[in-house]
Symmetry: C2
Subunit: 244 residues, 2 copies
């Protein structure tokens, strides 16, 4: 059943009228009168709807509303240093599928890509579109937001109240993400901070530690900068019972 | 320290001479006499070496040999239905980083991409090069092999002796990969079978079940065909203590 996101849409009214790109998209899918689709209000609620009228706009009858099943029980935010090329797209798409609450990009000492304010804005717009498409495709109940933060200090401030605060660092030899997650039984929120192609500098690791973030390793293999945050997110979802 | 793979190389002889592309690569990296590099025999053993002579070839003195730390303690094989476009490359690269023992591609009912024998051979060659590069970059101790199997029946036969035999299927509502992994305490081998863009057919799921493979879900979110095997592999590595 196709799923559509209609931000802030009122599912309690009995009928919903789709216009613009949503209506166009339904027509491209060649839906017919009586056919069922899933509508999501992007606030964690879905509605099973039947197509009632097809014209310039599309009228839907709400048959049943239910909580979106695609939302995990844990709120995990991925903070990724801005990578080169299209790796930010990969991080956003996969992090949304895996259940991230949100994704933030930021600059660190060793970031190779350092866009100016204007191209950063454009990049965030594109990444938010990718997040929306990935949320639809993976049957999420909300559209995760992609945000920009200027630097590591802002990231540490943004993430400081999360129960699990993991700073993924290949310089850490002992403490593992696994032990950090298992020390916090039944955690409900997590922040995963990952570095750029060249990794975090020791100064950045010290800065994170001073702010109460645990440097953790993902093991003996060196993961690429786009693989590490996704593997860590899969671990968070697995440990909290949200990956199968 | 840069790492080089020299297949079947004898680390016990005291010195190793690199020729061809390995020697070229060392020169591109502008290594100097006395500088240290890591050499891997692709059989799970690494050697710390010092550059002794730089010419048309490069002579290295073996300072110390040690087991490759990058090899996980669990042998996991990813069996992925051949996806469209460059997703096979993504699966190979990330599966090698995450620690897969090997990767097999095969055709299923709903595969969109159905290359002929010649282009399959070419594709496997390219994918094996990607596996080699990913193994070097992630500091593996072996180069995982990428193989082609004609169909699901061959996959089920190939994987039948693995302790964990998981058939990732979005049609499964109850049994989770997590329960399959946790039922097998201290498993040492796993097979993860994943479907194409349109998923496995119910007939294929029945075929796998009849062969003793457990259909398992990865949860409520629908993962893309390249994300599902990688998330499952991350879960296998996490559960077995090989991801941090």
């Amino acid at each position: 059943m196709p799923k559509f996101f209609v931000p802030e849409c009122d599912l309690s009214a009995g009928t919903v009228t789709l216009t613009g790109s949503n209506a166009e998209h339904l027509k491209v899918l060649r839906v017919r009168i009586g056919e069922e689709i899933l509508l999501c209000d992007t606030r964690g609620r879905d509605a099973r709807c039947a197509v009632e009228l097809l014209g310039g706009s599309v009228r839907l009858r709400v048959l049943e509303t239910l909580p979106s099943r695609g939302e995990p029980t844990v709120s995990a935010v991925v903070y990724a240093s801005l990578p080169k090329g299209d790796k930010a797209e990969t991080i956003v798409q996969k992090a949304v599928e895996l259940g991230a609450e949100g994704i933030c990009f930021f600059l660190t000492d060793r970031c190779v890509s350092r866009p100016d304010a204007k191209s950063t804005r454009g990049k965030m717009e594109r990444l938010n579109k990718i997040a929306e498409a990935a949320a639809m495709q993976s049957f999420r109940g909300r559209i995760p937001e992609v945000r920009w933060l200027p630097d590591l200090a802002s990231v540490l401030a943004d993430a400081c109240e999360r129960e699990v605060r993991a700073f993924l660092w290949e310089g850490e030899r002992d403490a593992s993400l696994r032990s950090a997650l298992q020390q916090r039984a039944l955690f409900r929120s997590a922040a995963l901070i990952s570095g750029p192609e060249g990794g975090f500098s020791p100064e950045e690791a010290a800065q994170a530690e001073a702010a109460g973030f645990a440097a953790v390793t993902l093991g003996e293999r060196i993961l690429r900068c786009e693989t590490a945050p996704l593997a860590a997110l899969a671990a968070v979802m697995y440990e909290s019972g949200n990956l199968g």
